[in-house]
């Protein structure tokens, strides 16, 4: 049986009907990983033996694939989430040999739902980046065009889903790190409302922004993964104590009467015309489905990059202070004294982007600059949040591009950090506001380069986001032409 490009829900059907065994499914992915990972570098750690062992438990009857939609389903996990007994590097040499003694809550919940983990995926170091070029273990190649970036920081997870190296994956999004690589690789990626998924065991980059979420082959799969991961966790005091809705019940192919806000500031001059075309066509499809399109304004959009790149590095400078060689991770040998050990360990273990952001963050929090930068940015964050609150008075969801350009060539922005930061302009404001957002494939620019459609919703309204995404996806299911993978 040809197992290629199977979604989680389709694979689940086959497993339940015993048309495919869990071992066959795991072997399918492990074979593909063996063949393609050397080129793509999507996985940093492959846990093949363990995965086959667990598959065996399903196939000899000890465990039942019928128990849950994720039972026996092989997944990949971004290397920023702690997995007990399995190396977790965060894409950094400073954690090259770190083996966590516990599972992140999101991982634990997926395990409880019966999922099998194939391994840990590559990422920008400590989730800092938009291209997966900042990994301490080499960049990831875009399966659609290996000379181009897969996006970041969840580049490994996005590439793994796109290249069928797993049935689905977990990523994290702080300023766009799920949505943008999903867009760049032509898969579905969702960032839930801040607090919807526990951050316990999610190695912290920016604590007021980080969120774990799914990367998947379709919207239904994304909903299945999110359902399993979401929910209040007493071990994460920032997790939202609200009931989790039934996300699958939200998947309705009709959006008749749904108000779709189109933010004028998200269609910028200088943006790639092919991205613009794909997104506008997608909006046209939504209108054809009965969605009521109306223009809205998010006037502070242009300040999002500046606000984010003050706030996130500030939080990072604090969160990354723990990497000091004392309790875990790299320790520089032969240090003269404790301070020397800290300095040498960190200088040796961190890459350039991480150092840049730590210094930027330290600067904006330092005495004399705190008010002018950090406090100011926090006030601008309020204005950005208010933009969305006001916009959602006029519409149910906001529909826009994910990035102003299709996937760019490896190396193109690597030397110019500010250019790289500016490419995040469309994903940062929703992160600052804490609202949920999805990227769903909506077309291809020339060269077979994927373009994603971004759909944003009010706080805790993942149901609206999923509904709009699903309706659009189902409407173009037979007409959206996917070029073959380039690998």
């Amino acid at each position: 049986m040809d197992l290629s490009a199977l979604t989680i829900h389709r694979l689940h059907d086959l497993l339940v009907k015993r048309e495919v065994s869990v071992t066959e499914a795991v072997r399918h992915f492990l074979d593909r990983i063996e063949a393609l990972n050397p080129r793509l570098n999507a996985y940093l750690t492959v846990t093949g033996e363990k995965a086959l062992e667990e598959a065996g438990e399903y196939d000899d009857g000890r465990r039942d694939p019928n128990r849950s939609p994720l039972a026996g389903i092989p997944l990949a996990v971004k290397d920023v989430l702690c997995t007990e007994g399995v190396r977790t590097t965060c894409g950094s040499r400073i954690l090259e040999h770190f083996v966590p003694p516990y599972d992140a809550t999101a991982v634990e919940r997926l395990k409880k739902a019966g999922a099998i983990f194939l391994g840990k995926t590559n990422m920008d170091e400590f989730a800092m980046g938009s291209s997966n070029e900042n990994s301490g273990f080499g960049p990831v190649a875009n399966p659609r065009d290996p000379s181009r970036v897969p996006g970041g920081s969840s580049g490994g997870s996005a590439a793994a889903v796109a290249a069928d190296l797993c049935a689905g994956a977990v990523g994290t999004d702080t300023g766009g790190s799920i949505r943008q690589p999903a867009s760049f690789c032509g898969v579905v990626g969702m960032k839930p409302t801040y607090g919807r998924v526990s951050r316990y065991g999610l190695v912290a980059f920016a604590s007021s922004l980080d969120q774990a979420g799914p990367l998947a082959k379709d919207v239904e799969d994304a909903a299945i993964l999110l359902q399993a991961m979401a929910g209040h966790d007493p071990r994460d005091s920032t997790s939202v104590d609200q009931p989790v809705p039934d996300f699958l019940a939200a998947l309705n192919p009709s959006i008749e009467g749904m108000k779709l806000g189109i933010p004028r500031e998200y269609f910028m001059e200088g943006a790639d015309p092919e991205v613009d075309r794909c997104v506008k066509e997608a909006i046209g499809v939504c209108e054809g489905l009965g969605g009521e399109v109306r223009e809205v304004s998010l006037p502070h959009t242009e300040y999002g990059v500046a606000a984010y790149y003050i706030i996130a590095p500030a939080e990072a400078s604090s969160n990354l202070a723990r990497y000091d060689g004392v309790k875990y991770g790299l320790r520089a040998p032969d240090s003269r004294d404790l301070t020397g050990m800290y300095r040498e360990t960190r200088s040796r273990g961190f890459g350039a982007e991480v150092k840049r952001r730590i210094m930027l963050g330290t600067y904006v929090l330092s005495s004399g600059y705190y008010d002018a930068y950090y406090k100011k940015a926090s006030r601008v964050r309020t204005l950005i949040r208010q933009d969305f609150v006001r916009a959602f008075e006029q519409c149910d969801v906001i529909v826009a591009p994910v990035a102003p350009m299709p996937p760019f060539p490896l190396g193109e922005k690597a030397e110019d950090p500010l250019q790289m930061y500016l490419s995040d302009v469309l994903t940062l404001p929703p992160s600052l506001a804490g609202i949920p957002g999805i990227s769903v494939p909506c077309g291809y620019a020339s060269g077979g380069l994927p373009v994603g459609l971004q759909i944003l919703g009010p706080h805790l309204r993942e149901d609206l986001v999923l509904r709009a995404a699903y309706a659009y996806e189902q409407a173009v299911k037979d007409t959206l032409v996917h070029p073959p993978l380039a690998v």
Binding site: H300, A306, V326, D337, T339, K355, M359, R379, T382
Partner: protein
């Protein structure tokens, strides 16, 4: 051209964040941080005097829990990743 950040300041910030930079890194980072901070001036276009800061994007206040002892990791698990340990503590170089 007025600089937003000097080499001195970069050196100071590196010290505060326990990073050591060589000459060329120092020059390189100074230039990059200077350009980034110059871009940040953009926020000065907005009058935020009456705007409260946001530290938390979702409404939430004072999440406390009872001071109860709960199961945690045992010592062996905690020391497993230690670069140097005597089985009881983490061993580090002398402070001074």
């Amino acid at each position: 051209m007025s600089r937003k950040i000097t080499r001195e300041e970069v050196r100071h910030v590196a010290l505060l964040s326990r990073l050591s930079l060589d000459e060329s890194e120092e020059a390189h980072f100074t230039e990059q941080l200077d350009r980034i901070l110059e871009y940040m001036d953009k926020l000065g276009e907005l009058d935020t005097r009456e705007v409260p800061p946001t530290t938390h994007s979702v409404p939430m206040q004072n999440v406390f829990k009872d001071d109860e002892v709960r199961p945690s990791l045992d010592r062996e698990q905690v020391l497993r990743n230690a670069p140097r340990s005597d089985g009881v503590s983490f061993i580090v170089p002398k402070v001074f």
